[in-house]
Each structure stands twice: as C-alpha cells, then as structure tokens.
C-alpha cells in the first residue's frame, strides 16, 4: 500500500513551490533582508521602550519623596 503512495511525485510538486521561491532566489533574498531589518528594528525598539519606562519611573520616584535622605543612618555602610 505504502509503495503506491506517490510521495516522490508529490515531493517534486512541493519542492517547486516553497514560499517565494527556492534558495538563492530573489524572493529568498528579499525575505532575508526584510527579516534582518526587522531584527535590527526590534533591538532599537527594546532600548527605546525600556528607556522610556525606566526614566518615567525614576522621575516619579524622585518626585514622590520616597527616596529622600533618611534623618538617621544605619552606620558607615554604603
């Protein structure tokens, strides 16, 4: 039964398809460049988004007075 399964024939049909073409094709190159670019943008985004959050929270904490200098200290430790 399995010998009758047309795997090879179907395989050739599938191999001709692959998304936007096979290796070294224009489509593959475009996808590679797009993916690489998105990766770089994501790195930039990680920095921007986090920096915004941290700066906002640091400003809020300073303004709240929660971190004001204590009136008495615990000793000569830092």
């Amino acid at each position: 039964m399995f010998d009758a399964f047309p795997y090879d024939e179907w395989g050739e049909d599938v191999a001709d398809f692959w998304t936007f073409g096979g290796h070294n094709s224009t489509g593959t190159w475009i996808l590679t460049v797009l993916g690489f670019t998105v990766m770089l943008v994501a790195f930039w985004g990680f920095f921007i988004l986090e920096n915004r959050k941290l700066a906002h929270q640091a400003d809020r904490l300073k303004a709240s007075g929660a971190l004001d200098r204590p009136s008495t200290t615990t000793g000569p430790e830092a």
Binding site: W18, F46, F47, E50, K53, Q57, R69, A78
Partner: protein, 491 residues
Amino acid sequence: MISSLIPTWLAQSPTIEELDSKLALDTQILTETFYFWTVVIMWLIHVGFMAYEAGAARRKNIMSTAMKNILTIAVVTPTFYYFGWYIYGCFQEGWPKSGHASPDAFEGFCGATAPWSAQMGPNLQDHVSAVFFLAFLLFSWTTGSIMSGALIERVRLSAYLVLTAVLGSVVWILDAAWGWSSGGWLTTRYGFHDAIASLVVHGVAGAFAFGVLLNLGPRIGKYTTDGLARTFRGHNTHLTLMGLMLIFTGFYGFYAACLVIQSTIFPGWLNIYGSPTTLGAIAFVITIGFAGGFTGGWFASKGDPFWTLSGGLAGVIAVSAGADVYHPSLAYLLSISGGMLAVWAGGYIEKKLRVDDAVGAVAVHGVCGFYGVLLVGIFAGGYPTGINNVPTSFGGQLMGMMAFLPLAFLPGYAISWILKKMNLLRVPAEVELEGLDLAEFGQDFYPEFERVPEIIIEPDGREVESAPVLLDAYWQTNGTPKTPVGVGERS
C-alpha cells in the same frame, strides 16, 4: 502452492540498490529524529535557568529576571540564523585563514550555512541540516542564559539583549568554529579537545559575563564601605533548586546533541571532532559527574543547598571536556574537585575580587569550564583527536585557553563599557531600589501575598531589614551607585 509463490515474491523483492537507498533515508530520518528530541530536551535548560534565576531574585525583581531568559530566545534565534551559523560554517580555519592544511570533513559546509542556502529552508532532500542548526542554536541560548543570572537585579533588559546576542551569535560560535568542529584550527593543528563543551560554551560564557560584571558593578548595598559582602536573600530557594534540577535534566539532551550520528556514513557515534565514542560513555560521565559535583559542593560549602546543587553543575562542567575519554572513576574524582573549586572560586570572586555575580555563574561556568579543559591536558594527554588524529596535549589545551580567554572577555568588557558610557547598561538607582518589576511591568507578581519587609544578611551574619540599609547606600553614593569593584579597604 507455496513454491508457486516464490517467483512472484522474488519478482517483487527490492534490489540491493533500492535497499541501500531506503536504508540511507531511514538513517537520515533517525538522525533527524535524534537531534529533534535533543532540542526538545534542551529547552528544559532554559526553563531551568529561568526558574533558577527568578528564584534567586528578590520579590521585586522576579519578572524582570525571567523576562531576560524569555527574550534571550527572541534575539539569539534570529541573530544566530542570520549570521551566527554562517560564522560556524565558514570560520573554522580562523580569520584570516591561516593557510594550513585543514581537511574539511564536510565539504561545502560553509555555503550551506548561509541563511539563503538550500539547507537553511524547507528541503525534502536534507533531513539533517535544519536539526543540526537547531541543536547549535540551543547551545547559543545556553551561553546567554549562563550570563543572564550573573547580571540580575540591576542590568537593563535591552542592554542584556544586545550582550547576549553578541555572546550567543558571535563570540561563542566563533570559538566553536575554532575549537569545537571537525575543521577547527585549534583541533586540526594542536589537538585541542573539549568534547562536550566545558570551555567553548561554559568557560567562554563565564569569561564574557565577568567582563560585563566589571562594568556593571554590584547591586546597591551589596558591599559595605569596608568592602565586606552582604547577602541578598532570594525570594524562593525552592524555585532556584528546582530550576537547577531542570537544567541538569536538559543537560542530558545537551550532552547527546554534542555527538554526531549518521550510521550509514560512520560506523557509530562520533564526537564533534569526528573521533569515535559512544552515547553510553558520555552518559556515564555526566551522571557520575553530577554525583561527584554534588559531593564536592556539599563539603566545600558545608552543606549549603545552593552551592551543593551548583557544585553538581560545576562537577559536570569540569569533566565535560573529556567526557568521551574518561573512565567513570576518574570522572567521579575530577567532578568532586570541580564542585569544590566552584564553591571556593565563588567565594573568592564575591569576597576578594568584590564582583557581584548574583548566582555564581563566573565560578561555576567560567572557572570550571577552563578547569575542565586543563584537566584533559593532564589526564587525557596523547588521545588522538579529530580528523588529523593530533594527540591531545597540555600545551594544546593551554593554546585553546589562551585563545578563548581574550576572545570571550574582551568583547564582554568592551561592549558593556560602551553601553555604560551611553548610560544604557544599568537601570536608574531609584528603579533598582524600588525593584525592576514595577518599572518594567507595573505590577507585583505575587499579588495575593502580603509584602513583608525585605531582609538582607550583614557580613557578620545578622539579618536586618534591608530598606534602611539600601537607602543609606543609595544616599552615600549621591543616588548614583558607583560602588567600585576590587577597590577599598578590606578587613
């Protein structure tokens, strides 16, 4: 009746060529299946690192710690796909090429590692390249996770992501090309032998992390003005220990993935250099390595739970380089020494060098990684390594160590220095005091549990409420913590 069927059966029997073809295909699919499952098991390493580090973090930093491990996957995967794998395939002879005769066991491998190649996409004729790539990718994540624990509770997530991408997709994979491949110049010329990646994964990640720690500095309040170390209590030691056990489980996948199996081409298992070994031999060593490491860690730390389990990891790392060569009894003895070394090195790094490595990663992975390669030079000298059959030697192992120490340390130090100068390495001191989770995620991650005062352990062993201590430390540095590393009066 039956005799009349025989001619029919014979007519239907496959030819030798057809059987060869089917056998080759079956073997490829066996290889594909094998590496696929090593990848699945290796995921547990990352589950483990996440739990381990999150448990070691204080309650206010749980999710910011775990998020580093999660986003390691988000950044190392594409960077490794776009250029990391290419470095492994194309830089084995060094850069620039040394010109020496280095037989290429896998001809054309370099071209097959480019992201636009036929092997790096769906390909019905290639059952092996994709899973082999994935196994290496999981090693890359591991290097990032090793560093991640050391930096917790004060590093910016974004800074960590850049550092881990460099470590996981450039630094470690370049050292793997040089010393953990069939055509690597360190192996083909000097017989460098690091079968299960003591140095190329663990040691290098530890050295890179050490470079970063020098610029990152300790957590606020970690050291007194006299330079004595306080101890921060992690919020959940059970979670940390469970994480370590998951890492250990994943290590079996890691060990297995370090071997090469393709039985129609090779007669059996090979190590990464193309030298024969068996899966059983390395499984023997890893298991007895844990036993020895736990034992060494227990005695050196006088029964400390964290260091007992970390000692198990250190023990295995210490014997990984020679796991394909060592007799189990030798592995047991050496792993005991590795577990003890990690404890002592961890104490030295924290108390003498005053480098705040939150989980002891530099000691466990860095120091024991280098130690493991050194041990091969001592106990497995003469073993013919790689496709040139160059005898392993103490000098060859030293050559690898001398090549990889700067290769790992300098990029870690340089990139973190640049980030520090741009004020992008460390979170603001105010955020560090309050905890990173509120700033990054706007929530506490144990909402149903009442908050109790955070405790800090003074150098003399007293447990005191941490808030006044940390606030005091914050003000003594004018809100800009620059606690110097390795400077100051010692008592």
